[in-house]
């Protein structure tokens, strides 16, 4: 999870347009259960990107 959060900090400096999040429970597959909670965190830590742009 620390690695994922570290990568998130690079999203805007590296020029990406969007962050995505999924919703898995009870396994080690991308361990965060609530995409809205997770994206709210990144909403406060970024200024330019949007969310889940296809």
């Amino acid at each position: 999870m620390d690695d994922t959060l570290s990568m998130g900090k690079l999203v805007e400096p590296l020029g990406f347009e969007s962050i995505w999040a999924t919703e898995p429970y009870g396994s080690a597959y991308f361990m965060q259960p609530n995409p809205l909670q997770y994206l709210a965190y990144w909403a406060g830590r970024t200024t330019r990107i949007d969310w889940g742009r296809r």
């Binding site: 009870g26 889940g52 296809r54």
Partner: protein, 149 residues
Amino acid sequence: MIVAPWWNPVRLAHEIAMLDILLKGRRLHLGIGRSIAPHEYASLGYPIEQSHKYFYEVVQILQAADGAERFTFDGEVYKIPLTTIRPQARLGGELARKINAAFSTPASMRLAAQHGLGQLFVAGDNLDAMTAQVWQFNTIRAAHGLPPD
């Protein structure tokens, strides 16, 4: 990517509106899936055999709530009396206008196309298979008077 059947739809509509407000005009593109993992359904206590029904009731409720001053819903799973979402989203009316759906089964693909949802690509199929799937998807949309996605 929200797994729709695992959310209470009124709570979900509120949380989406709140996230939209925190974004201050930046765009939240909603993606929705059903999940096919039995262990997750079992642990969370939702009936996987009714997951399509839960999925589309939640989608319809998000669409009814988005940008509405008040809404009601009368489904098989959810019966919602006159309800107001507060705080209201900044981009109310835009958030649920285009919901993209993730699917990995032909049945889910057909349902998503019939309901006017967009398509997300989560499968590891090869290019020919994915191309054929997109063609199928847009053929179903066309039959419902919808433009290609």
